[in-house]
Amino acid sequence: MRASTLLSESVAVLGKELTSELRSRVALNAVGLFGLTTLIAVAYQIGPYRIQEQDRPHLLAALLWVILFFAATSGLSRVFVKEEDARTAKTLRLAARPLAVLAGKFLFNLILLSALYAFIVPLYCALMGYSVQGIASLALLLACGAVALSATSTMVAAIIARASGSTTLFAILSVPLVLPLLVMLIQGTRAAAGSTAIAAVLPALRGIVSLGGATLIISVYLFPVVWHD
């Protein structure tokens, strides 16, 4: 019936998100400033030399993900809440297929997250003196992590937008879903820092990809329910 394809509609939603974001810069500022602030606080207070040699692999990997996770939370939760706040949700609901909305919002979150990682991770490595052996495997890990984390947070953002819209609720709902991911990501980062072989990060990577993939698939089924009711 429809002349447009799901792909072109998703791209339209993504394009709208990006244009709005580039003009208002709400999410970008929130995520960037939050990330930078925590990074500087951590780097200033701990720095490259405070941590004992034997603790470095564990602590540096964990600290990195703590910074990345908290910076992301402030921005990712907004994707659907802002539609409800601006009263555009109903307009969008009538005009677009749910899957196009989900895909567009997911891609937007993915881009936001990737930008954050590209910005914070090199800075963190420089400021904390974190030498990573397997740069390729870390990049792979970050990419898969970004996909899995944006899948989860997009769905949770959709749920809270229909509930109360509070960031607190976003944190409460996303923590149990994100914790297993974070555990695997920290584990993988530690492995990547210590070895150049991709095989070292493979166990973590497998877990992240399957959890992220499962979340994406289930979202396709669940999102219309959340979006319409």
């Binding site: 429809r2 072109s8 939603v13 394009g15 244009t19 709005s20 003009r23 307009t91 009538l94 005009a95």
Partner: protein, 208 residues
Amino acid sequence: MSAVSVEFQSVGKRFGNRGVLAAVSGTLQRGRVLVVAGPNGAGKSTLLNILAGLLRPSRGEVVYREGDSPLPRAHWFERLGMAAPDMSVYEELSALENLRFFARLRGLHLDSQAMQGLLEELGLASKEQSRAVGTYSSGMKQRVKLAQAVLHEPAVLLLDEPSSNLDESGHAVVAGLVARFRERAAVAVATNDPREMAWADARIDLAL
């Protein structure tokens, strides 16, 4: 595209223990404007939301028919144009960008001139059209919302308080719009305004 009619039978809605709409029945069809009247809080917007398929009724049912066959719920939104106080357009985008966005979502291949023409018809001068909607007055925003509702020439048009925030000239624009769509779409208007009630071919009065 053949005409779409909307039949609703003893439709009611309650939120928890609070009934907002008692059993209402009626029909929307081409050539007849249905006016839904009643004081604030009587359930006008609720009824329109139920007709649009945005809200599940607590009782009763809504049926869309295209020609003689019932239209599956999944296709309602494609046939539907709606403007309501709680349906804004994007403030960061200009009026034209908004229309372009909604046109792309609905798979329309409209050129800019058609969209500019529509906005002008609704009283938005062309020099205003590429400014961000956030800088508009509320009346101008209302005109963009109306443009969004009729952009795809819907077969069912639901207007909730279409003249809110509009001046005299705006009221005339809405009247023109309703007149234009009376012959090609099933139109419902929810209003308190006596001048708009005069458009009615059929009327439902809701009480508190």
